[in-house]
């Protein structure tokens, strides 16, 4: 990068907010995604005022320098790797809660705020912000909105896009726009809020977010059901929903995951089981919650669950959820590299997807543990491998190709909640066809003609 650009950045932001040390460049060359190339940016900037972002964007636009917006860098799609170098824009100094509005059930926040801080702030009003990604205690609101993250409560409460009501965005030419607002009903114009939610930083820079809040459920009951057969578990999932119970949490772990978790944390999981389901129902009225709980329990038993463990206390609940939360860490300890996918299928196709994954594991001679959000069809096939083993990585890549093909053929999607980024861009045409993908490209070209916003993401470059 031109030395003059660095000087311009320094005069704009001050020396302490322009990082060019080799060490810093290394530290902003990656994110949480496994098996991705890393690339050092030319410079990292840490502004603290909105006007600085506007000037920065104008500068990048003038010189046509790539601009990669970054929160905590916890995404799982290679979304914040500065693959063309350029400027990494750290948003972490924008970390304020601007307003909590209990009358309108909204909160207005800055993008660098860690999600959990919002949860803590609204809890005092008896409210929650439902999107609940695994990284809730580290990820930022801006990153979460840009990737449209999901989590364990997606089935009943939806995902990030269902809670974003309005945005403020600095566009690639430096213009500032506002989308949406605090009103529940709002059909004026194109829904730009939805367009920028999940845009992965490729269309503009989010500088303010208005989100919807909901009253915190007062009661909850949890259980863990064990099955010796995948179809029985699959039928249980379908039956719960068709019996008009929408659990807040409906999670599944397959046999490989169960064995690994048990080996890792010795919590008494049945290692012979083909599947376990972790189920939680919640609500505002205790009788309703208990009634749903009984319904779910009898569906599990009726479908031949070999055992159903009910949480009688908070400690029991914690133990059940600990088993589910241990899934990824336990799998991650088995091998040096953990390739985590999030292919998603309609929930009725879960047993088929699980069987296909098992066949893929055998075919490519790989260790694949699968767990995930069965209720919303969002599975996490997790390939346990070793990046330094070139031959095995080749098989991993073939297996990943096949996983996506199967997911699409079952009427599913490439990504339920992690985003496309660099990791899945090569499969986009598989899902959308060239016409569908072309519409997206046209949007991108119209809004960011110089392709400075997070280049190399979403669209495959071969």
């Amino acid at each position: 990068m031109n030395k003059n650009v660095i000087n311009e950045l320094v005069s704009l932001l001050g020396k302490e907010n322009v990082l060019t040390d080799k060490e810093d460049k290394i530290n902003y060359s990656y994110d949480a995604t496994a098996d991705m190339p890393s690339r050092e940016p030319d410079v990292i900037v840490t502004p603290s005022k909105k006007e600085e972002i506007v000037s920065l964007v104008k500068l990048a636009s003038k010189h046509k320098i790539p601009l990669v917006t970054r929160g905590s860098g916890t995404n799982l799609s290679g979304g914040t790797i500065p693959v063309d170098g350029g400027i990494v824009l750290s948003m972490l100094k924008f970390d304020k809660i601007l307003e909590v509005d209990p009358a309108n059930l909204t909160a207005t926040v800055e993008p660098g705020l860690v999600i959990q801080r919002l949860n803590e702030a609204v809890a005092t009003h008896g409210l929650i912000y439902p999107p609940d990604p695994g990284t809730v205690t580290t990820a930022t609101m801006g990153g979460s909105v840009s990737e449209c993250s999901g989590g364990l409560r997606g089935l009943k409460y939806g995902v990030t896009k269902d809670y974003v009501m309005g945005l403020e965005i600095v566009m690639p030419d430096g213009e500032v726009i506002r989308t949406g607002g605090k009103t529940v009903k709002n059909v004026s114009g194109y829904d730009l809020t939805k367009l920028f939610t999940g845009a992965e930083g490729t269309l503009g820079i989010i500088t303010e977010i208005i989100v919807k809040l909901i009253p915190a459920p007062k009661f909850r009951r949890s259980m863990l059901a064990v099955f010796d057969n995948l179809d029985k578990a699959g039928k249980t999932i379908a039956d719960i929903i068709s019996n008009k119970v929408i659990p807040a949490t409906l999670e599944i772990m397959d046999n490989v995951t169960i064995r690994t978790v048990e080996n890792y944390s010795k919590i008494g999981l049945p290692v012979e089981a083909e599947a376990v389901l972790v189920i939680e129902v919640d609500g505002m009225i205790e009788a309703v919650v208990l009634n749903e709980f009984e319904t779910v329990k009898s569906i599990c038993s009726g479908n031949g669950a070999t055992s159903v463990k009910l949480a009688e206390s908070d400690a029991d609940r914690d133990a059940i959820f600990a088993a589910r939360r241990a899934a990824l860490p336990a799998l991650a300890q088995v091998k040096p590299t953990t390739v985590l996918e999030d292919a998603t299928v309609p929930r009725s196709r879960i047993p088929e997807m699980l069987k296909a994954l098992r066949e893929i594991a055998v075919k490519y001679n790989l260790q694949i543990g699968t767990f995930g959000h069965a209720g919303d069809g969002n599975l996490h096939p997790t390939i346990l491998t070793d990046e330094s083993n070139k031959e095995e990585m080749e098989r991993v890549h073939q297996a990943v190709d096949e996983i996506f093909k199967v997911a699409i053929s079952l009427g599913g999607t490439l990504s339920g909640e992690h985003g496309i980024g660099m990791a899945k861009s090569k499969y986009m045409e598989l899902q959308f066809g060239s016409a569908g993908l072309n519409v997206m490209k046209k949007i991108k070209d119209a809004l960011d003609p110089d392709n400075i916003m997070n280049p190399g993401k979403m669209f495959w470059r071969g």
Binding site: E23, I26, Y28, T74, K93, L328, P329, Q333, T337
Partner: protein
């Protein structure tokens, strides 16, 4: 091969990191700076770059690796079980080997290494401290009058007029002892908090424990090891294994989690390849026990000895006591047993106070930024005293609270127990 011989030995730990970033939730340094280079994931990536030949042993690397409290919060949080402390210690040793030790540190460490000289230096310090440190209204502190590499704003406690080990006999006999234990005083109880050291011995005496306090013991070496001077630390480790392995005792009691962790874990790692020391280091490590664990798990709390203390206290978990030695329940168990005493848990009691030994000297402002959360948590409890189990934490808490105008007294856990014993004696006599 140990991590101190070759940085290659941390490779397996580096490989375990999946860069998830969960360490960002708990790293006290990162929570203040919010820069990738100050959190475990970032440091691991830098060391990885060095091993791959993408980065030299630069000043920038040394700076960033200096930004670690070794509080082990990330180690506890890490879903992949990465032993970040091991990586940091190994990397700092490699930096010293490649870049040399800072001359000031070199001079200080060479004195600490030689017990007699260190003793003399600290004694001299105690005579001169009236000159060096201006008095301050706070309970235990004085502002440094001359900046001896210390920040001028910092208050540090007065040095003991006479070190603890010079005040007590080497073996403290009791009639019909039920147990025999050695006492590793650590520097803080020897030179700064000798009253707490005497309380510790008195409590053991009252429980019929025969205590041996080897005169030739010295600094455990943790501050030196933490700065990467593995060579000096190794000499100190060997000397302590020689001293403590020849004693006829069932336990070796430590009053400080950092010293305890050093004996329990670091000596074993440092000496694992040395046939003359490896086995003995393991045996010594097995005897190491924190004083509060010793009271609760070995001799048991004798409630008939406890008198009433009308206090409301909160407890701060020292990092190395909690995550290094795994001791967090015993201090609370002691406090909760004391009649009249109200125990209030503070928010994030296990979050580092920002001291990290000499980190508070080398990074004073950052250390205080980290500390302010601790002072606030203490204030929110409404407690009228703070209890902890580490001298360095007491120093930091005193300095920090002084800055935030909170003049609460601070105690080592054992001092509260001693006070309760004294109260009982008074109850009997009145």
């Amino acid at each position: 091969m140990t991590i101190y011989d070759s940085i290659d030995e941390v490779k397996d730990e580096l490989l375990k990191c999946m860069k998830c970033g969960n360490c960002m939730e708990v790293c006290p340094v990162y929570l203040e700076t919010r820069k990738e280079g100050s959190v475990a994931r970032g440091k691991i990536r830098l060391i990885d770059a060095v091993l791959k030949g993408d980065l030299e042993y630069t000043e920038g690397l040394e700076e960033r690796l200096g930004l670690c409290l070794t509080c082990m919060a990330c180690v506890e949080k890490c879903p992949c079980g990465v032993k970040v402390d091991k990586i940091i210690f190994g990397a700092r040793a490699a930096i010293v080997k490649n870049r040399g030790l800072h001359p000031v540190k070199k001079a200080i460490f060479s004195v600490i290494k030689r017990p007699k000289l260190f003793n003399l230096g600290m004694k001299a310090g105690s005579m001169f401290q009236g000159l060096a440190f201006k008095k301050h209204v706070s309970i235990t502190g004085a502002y440094p009058r001359f900046p001896f590499g210390l920040d001028r704003r910092r208050i540090i406690p007065p040095l003991a007029a006479k070190p603890l080990r010079n005040q007590l006999p080497e073996v403290i006999k009791v009639p019909n002892p039920v147990k025999k234990a050695a006492f590793f005083t650590g520097c803080s109880m020897n030179f700064l908090y000798d009253d707490a050291g005497k309380d510790l011995v008195n409590v053991l005496k009252k429980n019929n424990v025969e205590v041996t306090i080897p005169k030739d013991q010295h600094c455990c070496g943790m501050p030196i090891l933490a700065h990467g001077d593995a060579e000096t630390a190794l000499e100190m480790a060997k000397s302590h294994i020689d001293i403590f392995s020849k004693l006829d005792v069932e336990h070796i009691i430590t009053p400080c989690g950092s010293c305890g962790t050093t004996f329990q874990h670091h000596y074993v790692e440092m000496l694992k390849d040395d046939p003359a020391y490896a086995d003995r280091a393991v045996k010594v490590a097995e005897k190491i026990i924190d004083i509060s664990d010793y009271i609760v798990k070995v001799i048991g709390i004798d409630e008939s000895k406890l008198g009433t203390l009308n206090m409301k206290v909160t407890y701060h978990d020292p990092c190395h006591l909690n995550r290094g030695m795994g001791v967090k329940d015993s201090p609370r168990a002691i406090l909760k047993k004391i009649p009249g005493l109200t125990f209030v848990e503070m928010k994030n009691a296990d979050r580092c106070c920002g001291s990290a030994g000499s980190f508070s000297l080398t990074h004073y402002d950052l250390s205080m930024d980290i500390h302010k959360n601790k002072s606030k948590a203490i204030k929110d409890t409404g407690a009228d005293a703070v209890v902890t189990g580490c001298g360095a934490c007491i120093m930091q808490l005193a300095d920090g609270m002084n800055r935030f105008n909170m003049l609460l007294p601070m105690y080592h856990t054992i001092q509260i127990l001693a006070k309760s014993y004294e109260a009982k004696d008074k109850e009997k006599h009145s």
